[in-house]
C-alpha cells in the first residue's frame, strides 16, 4: 500500500494527468497532494544520476517534485508540485525523465554513480574541449522543457506600495505582529506564500484567544482588511534589495501574477522554519518524506502518507505527527535518535530509542526500513532532523546569524535596523513564545494574543550527517549530493562552504538547498573537525524561490520594452502608404509605397532631385537656450563659435565630448542675442539637452540662462528640391522667399493657420530646401496644404531612406554612423576652430593631445568603384598588406546606389584618407574582396550650385 486519500470532505473532483496517465484530485489540492492521494510515488528523476524520487516536502522547499504543467495548451516548465494548485484538465509531466518518471530510460546512469562523483565534469571533460561534450551532457541532466509555442503575454503588473510595517509570513507570529502594528495606527502590509493565512496553525492545532487557531487567523485577517490594511495570500516576499526594497511575487486567481515593490519603514520577518531531513543510507527512496509535510497532507488535504509508517526523528515535534497518523489509521513506529524521549505516546505506537536508520529498501518506493539492525516493513519513512529558521530576508539585509545549540540551527544574531524577526524564523517554536515575539515585533500595541493550549515541547538533539559505510546518504536530493561528495570536497580542499557549494553543486538550482544546506555544512564541519558556527553558511541571495521572468519583466516587454517616439503626423503618413522604421528612437516613414523598397527609395530620391520632395523632419531637435548668457552657453558647447551670428541666421557646427570626439552635428539658429535654437540630430536630443544643462549649471550663472527642449511641441515639414520655393510660396506663410530676403542658412518667422510658422533655409540634401516648423496642432493642416500645393509641382513624399541616400551623395555625415568614438572635427577636414578659436570650449584640450595630432588618423572620405559594379557593403574593411600581414586601415560607413548619378556612392573612415585621394584600396567583407578608390566626400554637385538652384 501507499499514500491514499482518507477524507475528501465532499470537495469537487478535478481530473488531471501525470506522465500521460489519468488521475483525479479534489478542489483544494496542490499537484503534490493529488499525486500522493493517487498513490503516485515516483514523481521525478534526480538531476545527475536519474534516481527515482518522490515528494519530500509540502511547500517552497520541495527538492524533487518539480514538474512541467500544460494547461489550456500552454506549458509552464519547472513548477513546484507542492505549491501549484491543481486545476481542471492539467497535464503534468515529470522533468529530467523520458518517457516517464516511473520508467526513465536514463535510469541506468545510477549504476555508474561510483565513476561520476562530485567534480567529475571538471576533471574529465577538460580535454580537448568541454564544448564537445556539453550538448550531450546537457541533454542528460536538466529540468523542464521550454515550450516555444508558449510566449506569455506581457501582462504582469508591477505595483509600488509604501507602508509603515511590512510583515512577511501570516503564521501565528506574523498575524500577531500585523495586528499589533495595525493597532498602533500604522499602515500595514501582510504577505504570505500559502493559500490561506495561518501558517502551521492550519495543521498543528492551538487555541488562541479562546478560538481554534485557524478561526483566530481568519479573525485577525478580517480585522486587518476591515481597517484598510493590505493582506496578500499566495504572495512570496522573494528578495530584499538596496535600501530596504522588498519584492513580492503574488499569484492571483483569474488574473496575471503581480510584482509588488514594497518600501516599509519597518519589516517583520515571520517566515517560519523548514524541516530538514535526517540523513541515512538510501534516504532518497520515494516514500521518504518530511514528517511535518506528512502532517500538512493529512490535516489540509485528507491524505495519509502511508499505511505502515516509520517516523525517524531527533526531536519532540515529530511526535505529534506520529500521533496524528496513528489516529488516522496508520501503523506507526517512532525511531528516535535520542536515548530517551520526552513525550508519552499513545498505545499502539512503538518507540525505538537511540535508533539508527541503517538503510531503506525499495528502489521505486519504500518497502522496508532497517532501524538499529532490525528490519521493519514500511511503505513510508518520515524524517525530522529539526527545523531550520527561514532567515533569508534577514541575511539579505546583511544580518549576521548565530548558531543556537538549543534548536540546532542558525538564528538571527544582532538585530538589523528597521527589521525584526519573530517566531520560528527566530528559533521560537512554542506557540505562546511565537505569539509573544510576533506581538513585540509588531510594536506591542494592544492586548497580546494568548494561547490557551499548552505548548508543544520542541526539544531537539542534533543529529548531523557523518560518513558511514559504503551506502550513499543523500544530503541534496535535487543535485544528487551525498555525504561522500562532501567528504571528497573536503579531501580536495574545497572546505569553505562557498567552495563546497560550487564544487559539489550542493544547495544550487531551484530549491537553493532549503532542505540540504544545513546538513551539508554540518557534514563539512564534522569532516573537517570544525564547529558548525566556524564552518558558517553560504551567502543568502534573492530570489527565495524561482520567480518567472514574466513577473520580473512585467509590462516592459515587446513594444513597451523601449517605446518608440511617434510623429504627430503618423496617421497621415500611414494614409499616404508609408512603411515605418525606427530611426534614432523615432518611428518614421522609411519609404512610401508597396513596391520593392529599393525601387520606391530610388523613385523618391530621383523625383526629389527633379522637382520637390516633402519630408517630415519633426524629430530634429529644437532646443531653446534663453537668457543673457545664452550665447556663452551655446558657444562653450560648440566647436564653432555661434554667438557671432547675426539674428535671423543659422550656422552648422559640431558638439564635442570632452575627449574631443564628435558627439553630434546640427544647426543653431540665432533669434536674438539672448535666444538661440539648437537643432541637433533627432536621436541626440535628450543627450544634447543634458550637455547644455550640465554646463549651464556647472559653469554659468544659472539664473541668467535657461535650456528648454521644445522638440515635442513643434512639427517640422521640409520641402526640398528645385521647386521647393514654388511649393512654399503657395502656402501663404507671409514670408519673403526671395534669396536676398531669405538666403541659405537663414530663417524668417511667418504664420500658418493663425499660428506661428518658422521657415528655415537649411539643407540636408544639397538642394534648395525650406524647413517649416509649426505647432503640432497645425501640423496636419500644413501637411495637407503642402500635399495640395505639391500636386501641381509633381512633388514626391520623401521617406528617411531616400533622405539618407541624398545626403550621402553630398557627403553630409550622420554623427555616430559616419563618425565613430574616435572621430574629431579635423578628421573630417574641419580644423579652423581648433587652430584659430580663442577661449575655452568643450573638448578643446583633447584636440591637441599626442593622439589627436597623429598623422595616421582615420579620416572621412568618399569612395568610388569601377563602372558597372554594385555598391560596397557598409562595414567592409579597407585592408593593407605589409610584410605579409594584413590589417584594417578603415571601413565603409555609408553606401548607396545613387539613382541620379547612376553609380554607387560611399563614405568611409580611412587611415590618412584625406591625403590618399585617388588611391585604390582593397575592401574585404565576409570573405569577398572589392576594390574602391578614395574620392572627395561630395559626389554630387560639388560646386553647391543647387543650394540656390
Amino acid at each position: 500500500m501507499t499514500a491514499r486519500r482518507i477524507s475528501a470532505g465532499g470537495a469537487r473532483p478535478i481530473p488531471f494527468t501525470f506522465d500521460g496517465k489519468s488521475f483525479s484530485g479534489i478542489q483544494g489540492d496542490t499537484i503534490a497532494s493529488a499525486l500522493l492521494a493517487n498513490g503516485v510515488r515516483v514523481v521525478g528523476r534526480s538531476f545527475k544520476y536519474h534516481r527515482p524520487r518522490g515528494i519530500v516536502g509540502s511547500g517552497a522547499e520541495e527538492p524533487n517534485a518539480v514538474v512541467d504543467v500544460t494547461l489550456a495548451g500552454k506549458t509552464t516548465p519547472n513548477v513546484r508540485a507542492t505549491t501549484e494548485p491543481l486545476a481542471d484538465g492539467m497535464a503534468v509531466r515529470s522533468v529530467n525523465a523520458a518517457p516517464t518518471a516511473e520508467a526513465d530510460r536514463a535510469g541506468f546512469l545510477d549504476r555508474f554513480a561510483a565513476f561520476i562523483p562530485a567534480g567529475f565534469y571538471y576533471k574529465t571533460f577538460l580535454w580537448p574541449d568541454w564544448h564537445l561534450f556539453e550538448p550531450r551532457i546537457r541533454a542528460m541532466a536538466g529540468l523542464g522543457r521550454l515550450d516555444p509555442a508558449h510566449q506569455p503575454p506581457a501582462d504582469s503588473p508591477s505595483i509600488n506600495l509604501r507602508c509603515d510595517v511590512l510583515v512577511v509570513g501570516a503564521g501565528a507570529a506574523g498575524l500577531a505582529a500585523a495586528r499589533s502594528a495595525a493597532r498602533a495606527g500604522g499602515r500595514v502590509m501582510l504577505v504570505d506564500d500559502q493559500d490561506a493565512p495561518g501558517g502551521s496553525l492550519g495543521h498543528r492545532p492551538a487555541v488562541i484567544d479562546g478560538m481554534p487557531g485557524g478561526v483566530w487567523a481568519e479573525a485577525v485577517v478580517t480585522e486587518l482588511r476591515a481597517a484598510g490594511h493590505t493582506v496578500l495570500s499566495r504572495a512570496t516576499a522573494f528578495g530584499l534589495y538596496d535600501h530596504g526594497l522588498v519584492a513580492v511575487w503574488q499569484r492571483r486567481t483569474g488574473l496575471p501574477d503581480a510584482l509588488w515593490q514594497v518600501r516599509a519603514k519597518r519589516i517583520v520577518v515571520a517566515a517560519g522554519a523548514i524541516e530538514r531531513p535526517l540523513v541515512f543510507p538510501d534516504n532518497d527512496r520515494p516514500g521518504v518524506m518530511s514528517a511535518e509535510a506528512a502532517l500538512v497532507y493529512l490535516r489540509r488535504h485528507g491524505v495519509l502518507a502511508g499505511e505502515r509508517i516509520v517516523v525517524a526523528t531527533n526531536n519532540d515535534k515529530a511526535y505529534a505527527v506520529a500521533v496524528a497518523l496513528h489516529e488516522a489509521g496508520a501503523q506507526v513506529t517512532v525511531a528516535d535518535t535520542r536515548p530517551r524521549g520526552t513525550l508519552a505516546l499513545r498505545d499502539g505506537v512503538e518507540v525505538i530509542h537511540q535508533a539508527t536508520i541503517d538503510g531503506v529498501s525499495g528502489a521505486r518506493g519504500v518497502s522496508s526500513v532497517t532501524v538499529s539492525g532490525r528490519p521493519i516493513e514500511a511503505d513510508c519513512v518520515l524524517t525530522s532532523g529539526g527545523f531550520t529558521p527561514t532567515v533569508h530576508l534577514f541575511c539579505q539585509a546583511k544580518g549576521r546569524l548565530r548558531f543556537d545549540e538549543a534548536i540546532a540551527g542558525f538564528i538571527p544574531g544582532d538585530p538589523v535596523a528597521g527589521m525584526a524577526v519573530a517566531g520560528a524564523a527566530n528559533g521560537a517554536f512554542a506557540v505562546s513564545q511565537v505569539l509573544a515575539q510576533g506581538h513585540a515585533a509588531g510594536g506591542g500595541a494592544g492586548e497580546p494574543p494568548r494561547a490557551t493550549t499548552p505548548d508543544d515541547t520542541c526539544a531537539v538533539a542534533a543529529a548531523w550527517p557523518a560518513p558511514r559505510g559504503k551506502a550513499r546518504q543523500w544530503i541534496d536530493f535535487q543535485n544528487d549530493v551525498a555525504v561522500k561528495d562532501v567528504a571528497l570536497a573536503a579531501r580536495e580542499n574545497f572546505r569553505s562552504v562557498e567552495h563546497l557549494k560550487r564544487y559539489t553543486t550542493l544547495g544550487m538550482a531551484t530549491d537553493q538547498g532549503k532542505t540540504s544546506n544545513m546538513n551539508g555544512l554540518a557534514a563539512m564541519a564534522a569532516i573537517t573537525g570544525r564547529t558548525i558556527a566556524e564552518t558558517g553558511t553560504t551567502t543568502y541571495r534573492p530570489p527565495f524561490v524561482p520567480v518567472p521572468f514574466t513577473v520580473v519583466a512585467g509590462r516592459r516587454r515587446g513594444e513597451f520594452f523601449n517605446p518608440v517616439k511617434r510623429l504627430a503626423l503618423e496617421n497621415q503618413h500611414r494614409a499616404d502608404g508609408a512603411v515605418f522604421r525606427e530611426y534614432g528612437g523615432w518611428l518614421r516613414p522609411g519609404w512610401y509605397g508597396t513596391g520593392q523598397p529599393a525601387t520606391e527609395i530610388a523613385r523618391e530620391a530621383r523625383q526629389a532631385r527633379a522637382t520637390v520632395g516633402i519630408l517630415d523632419g519633426s524629430p530634429l531637435g529644437k532646443i531653446e537656450v534663453i537668457g543673457p548668457q545664452a550665447g556663452a552657453v551655446v558657444d562653450y558647447n560648440s566647436y564653432q563659435t555661434l554667438s557671432t551670428l547675426k539674428p535671423g541666421r543659422i550656422r552648422y557646427g559640431f558638439m564635442l565630448t570632452e575627449s574631443g570626439v564628435i558627439y553630434d552635428d546640427g544647426v543653431v539658429s540665432k533669434l536674438s542675442d539672448d535666444h538661440y535654437v539648437v537643432s541637433c540630430s533627432s536621436g541626440h536630443v535628450g543627450g544634447v539637452v543634458l550637455r547644455l544643462e550640465e554646463w549651464r549649471q556647472d559653469r554659468f550663472d544659472r539664473s541668467q540662462v535657461f535650456v528648454h527642449n521644445s522638440t515635442p511641441q513643434w512639427a517640422t515639414l521640409t520641402a526640398t528640391g528645385p521647386r521647393s520655393r514654388d511649393l512654399v510660396a503657395m502656402l501663404g506663410l507671409g514670408v519673403d522667399l526671395s534669396d536676398d530676403a531669405l538666403p541659405h542658412m537663414s530663417f524668417a518667422d511667418g504664420s500658418f493657420a493663425g499660428g506661428p510658422a518658422r521657415v528655415s533655409r537649411v539643407s540636408f540634401t544639397g538642394d534648395r530646401s525650406y524647413e517649416i516648423a509649426v505647432p503640432t496642432g497645425t501640423a496636419k493642416a500644413l501637411h495637407l496644404a503642402m500635399m495640395e500645393a505639391g500636386r501641381t509641382l509633381d512633388a514626391v513624399l520623401l521617406g528617411s531612406e531616400a533622405l539618407l541616400l541624398l545626403r550621402a551623395e553630398k557627403g553630409y555625415i550622420i554623427a555616430g554612423k559616419d563618425t565613430d568614438g574616435t572621430t574629431m572635427p579635423h578628421d573630417l577636414g574641419i580644423a579652423g576652430p581648433r587652430d584659430k578659436r580663442a577661449g575655452e570650449f568643450v573638448g578643446k584640450r583633447s584636440l591637441f593631445t599626442e593622439n589627436a595630432l597623429r598623422d595616421d588618423r582615420q579620416q572621412g572620405v568618399g569612395l568610388t568603384v569601377a563602372e558597372g559594379e554594385p555598391p560596397l557593403p557598409t562595414g567592409a574593411h579597407a585592408v593593407e598588406t605589409r610584410g605579409g600581414a594584413r590589417r584594417s586601415i578603415g571601413f565603409v560607413t555609408s553606401s548607396y546606389q545613387s539613382p541620379v548619378l547612376g553609380r554607387p556612392v560611399a563614405l568611409a573612415l580611412i587611415e590618412r584618407g584625406l591625403s590618399r585621394l585617388g588611391e585604390t584600396l582593397d575592401f574585404v567583407h565576409l570573405g569577398t574582396t572589392r576594390r574602391a578608390t578614395i574620392a572627395p566626400v561630395c559626389a554630387f554637385d560639388p560646386e553647391g550650385a543647387r543650394i540656390n538652384g
Binding site: E840, K844, T849
Partner: protein
C-alpha cells in the same frame, strides 16, 4: 533599488538618476597651459574610494545636478544638496 534624495524632488528610485562625476573636480584651463597628464587625470582618473564618497549626480527626471554623499560599501546615503545655491 536604492533611494536617492534629489534636493528638488525628494527621495526617488535610483533608476531616475545618472552619475555625473566625483565631487570637487575642477576643469583645468586654459587648454594651452594644461599638461597632457593633468588633462588625462581630469578626464579619466577617479579616486573610486571604498567607503564614504562625495559625488555629483544628475536627477534626469528634473534635470538638476546635485551633490550627494554616500557610502560605496554600505550604500547608505548621508545626504544631498543643490549645487551653487539653495533649492528653488
Amino acid at each position: 533599488m536604492q533611494l536617492f534624495p534629489c534636493p528638488f524632488c525628494g527621495p526617488r528610485d535610483e533608476t531616475e538618476f545618472q552619475f555625473a562625476t566625483e565631487a570637487g573636480k575642477t576643469r583645468p584651463e586654459p587648454a594651452a597651459e594644461v599638461s597632457a597628464e593633468r588633462w588625462t587625470k581630469y578626464l579619466y582618473l577617479k579616486d573610486n574610494p571604498k567607503g564614504p564618497t562625495r559625488e555629483v549626480w544628475l536627477h534626469v527626471t528634473c534635470g538638476e545636478f546635485f551633490l550627494m554623499e554616500r557610502d560605496t560599501v554600505s550604500h547608505a546615503v548621508a545626504g544631498s544638496q543643490a549645487l551653487g545655491g539653495d533649492p528653488r
